[in-house]
């Protein structure tokens, strides 16, 4: 671990003009808000994977995605936050609810939402959590984001739009073709059974 820490500390570029990081014992207001949102996000994510009511899982997912949008706002990335609200909370969850309704999901509690691998899955999840948390705490203990740094807002719609349509135009267009392909694919997959094939 200490070797990895040295490797990370030696190779990672620091932010320009970074000051010494404040101590963890005096959190700023933004950090307190971020941590509260994080607690809400993780708790409702745990409810998504553990509730015994299908529709409630989708509704807890809304809480998780909404608090992640709040975390984006705290990180000063406004445009991504509103895209998150529009696409995830608006479209994806609505699609998931449609899927639940079209597959005749039972309203109320269902006893058999977890499969027989529940305990190995719990072990795998806990191991993933322990490994990732140990890794990021060890690697980024001294890294600090200066949210009030001088300069333009990095996440404003103007900055994001200029970046996408200047530097990332080609991936953007490829992505639109991919969306079209996904749309056509979804229609084809749905139609092939509609005419009894």
């Amino acid at each position: 671990m200490s070797l990895l820490h040295g490797l990370l500390a030696g190779t990672l570029p620091g932010p320009p003009g970074a000051a010494a990081a404040p101590t963890y014992l005096s959190p700023s207001g933004a950090e307190v808000v971020f941590l509260l949102l994080g607690v809400v996000a993780v708790a409702s994510a745990l409810l998504v994977v553990s509730t015994s009511q299908l529709v409630h899982a989708a509704l807890w997912l809304v809480v998780t995605l909404g608090s992640i949008a709040g975390m984006y706002l705290v990180l000063t990335v406004e445009f991504v936050a509103w895209v998150q609200v529009l696409i995830y909370v608006g479209a994806v969850v609505a699609l998931l609810l449609f899927g639940l309704m079209l597959t005749r999901a039972p309203i109320g509690r269902s006893a058999d939402l977890d499969n027989s691998h529940r305990w190995p899955a719990l072990v795998a999840g806990l191991a993933t959590a322990a490994a990732l948390v140990a890794l990021v705490v060890d690697g980024f203990r001294s890294a600090y984001i200066d949210l009030a740094a001088a300069g333009t807002a990095p996440g404003s719609a103007a900055a994001t739009g200029a970046t996408i349509f200047r530097s990332w135009v080609l991936p953007f267009e490829v992505l639109s073709v991919l969306l079209l392909a996904a749309l056509v694919g979804a229609i084809v997959v749905s139609r092939s059974t509609a005419d009894g094939a």
């Binding site: 998504v48 998150q84 998931l96 899927g99 691998h117 899955a121 980024f140 996440g155 996408i164």
Partner: protein
């Protein structure tokens, strides 16, 4: 803001998604857990973008791309799930074992 905070929240969300994908039987709940994992990665991308002050804003742009990909994925995934439901009348992933080698 310490980088550790978004990184730890993102790690916990990702682990929750891993558990959900492995433990849930309903295919739509598995898709929801996949969304949790994608969101964990998005949170990391945004945090590191803000930390490193990337001139190209690659983290934010990739986050937008991942959100778009997730929308495409959920559209196709739900079409497939509905097709499976029509043909098999179930979407329990542990009953869909035709591709396994040994019989159930």
């Amino acid at each position: 803001m310490h980088v550790v905070y978004p990184a730890v929240v993102s790690a916990l969300l990702f682990a929750t998604g891993v558990y959900g994908v492995l433990a849930r039987r309903n295919a739509i709940l598995v898709l929801m857990s996949v969304e949790l994992m994608l969101n964990a990665v998005n949170l990391d991308l945004v945090a590191f973008d803000v930390w490193l002050r990337d001139a190209l804003h690659s983290g934010q742009t990739l986050t937008l791309f991942v959100i778009t990909l997730a929308a495409a994925e959920i559209g196709l995934g739900l079409a497939i799930v509905l097709l499976v439901f029509r043909t098999k009348a179930t979407i329990n992933v542990d009953e869909l074992s035709e591709l396994g080698e040994r019989p159930r």
